[in-house]
Assembly symmetry: C2
Homo-oligomer: 202 residues x 2
DNA sequence: ACCTGAACACCGTTCAAGT
DNA sequence: ACCTGAACACCGTTCAAGT
């Protein structure tokens, strides 16, 4: 019992997050518990609470890792001058990621911290980096002062589709595949936004 | 202890669902537990499991109630010949409902049955009825064979916005209000879909 | 100082035992 | 036949006690 100091605080945090992400990726969000993480790294449950305020924060950190991996993939997509082509390319990348990371991505989609009204400040950039890619993707046709808003709209739209698909809410309605719906969706949004920008008055 | 027969099975189910919805509406999803429901109706926890296979099913039934109340409001919206105006009117109704039913609507947005791949068949119509309203709303400009698909796209888009807003994921990004974003969103979708339909070839 | 592990207050769920 | 309530196997979380 007692003192070990096998690892620094930073090393321990890294161990916990790696173990946590492994558990989510292989067994899903429901299998991610403090005891499971502790057992996997060979520490007691209590240790986790010296690293994280509570378990929700651990889950958010694990999800932040998954978001970073999505960003790594999205950042590789080559963008051109056609907004619709750009969005389609990003969509293909996103759907491939979601398929390759079914359980850990489902955790990002599904997890909501009970009772929380806003996300912690450190979490925001993990999403923001990918939204920034979206802004660059729509730059060719969307005016600078509308880009952020449009990127958020596109992000939220596809997010909604994925959330519903993940929960099994789409197949039941005779919907085409989520991928087909998403492609139509972003095309509508892109042409609609372009037409809106071309209107004489707002 | 033992036999009471104060209520029929149907009455008991009704009691449970009313109590469950009350709890969710006033205290939120986290407060909805089998013990809390049982205590409120004056029965033991075990009784609940003679009415529902498991607790997830109880939550889904409570959420189905909330969806029905949304439908009741949405069905009152008067629809005209302008697809954008129709969607805007439905949006106003939806946002009002979400504000009037913060906790019970958040439960619908947030709840995902762990490990489930598809929703139970009885649950589908509770969503479907509202999607049907959307289909009627877009009828003036969307061809019959595209209506369902477009209604699903619009539904999923707004859903994504609400999910993100509910989780506190939008305010952090310097976004306009969810309502403003939603209005832009459906306008883009409507004009985009109309432009798409007018294209010479698919 | 660091870490343990037992304990606390909860869950969902089951099922022998009462009426 | 209907319902109880104690029990089981879990949770997240805390904290006195060990090294």
């Amino acid at each position: 019992m007692g003192r070990r100091s096998d690892h620094t605080r930073e090393e321990l945090t890294e161990l916990v997050l790696t173990a946590g992400h492994d558990i989510v990726a292989t067994k899903g969000l429901a299998a991610l518990t403090a005891r499971a993480v502790a057992e996997r790294i060979g520490y007691s449950p209590g240790t986790i609470y010296s690293l994280f305020q509570n378990f929700d924060e651990l889950v958010l950190h694990v999800n932040a890792r998954t978001l970073d991996r999505l960003y790594d993939q999205m950042a590789k997509v080559e963008l051109g001058d056609d907004i619709t082509a750009n969005l389609e390319a990003l969509l293909v990348c996103y759907f491939k990621f979601a398929e390759d990371h079914q359980r850990d991505w489902a955790a990002v989609l599904d997890y909501t911290v009970p009772g929380r009204v806003s996300l912690p400040a450190w979490y925001t950039p993990h999403i923001d980096q990918t939204i920034a890619i979206l802004e660059r993707a729509v730059a060719p046709e969307i005016a600078p002062n509308r880009r952020r808003s449009f990127a958020l709209i596109a992000w939220a739209s596809v997010h909604g589709l994925m959330v519903l698909a993940s929960a099994g809410n789409l197949a039941a309605f005779g919907a085409p595949s989520p991928a087909d719906l998403a492609h139509d969706m972003v095309r509508y949004l892109a042409t609609g936004a372009a037409a809106d920008a071309a209107r004489p008055a707002r």
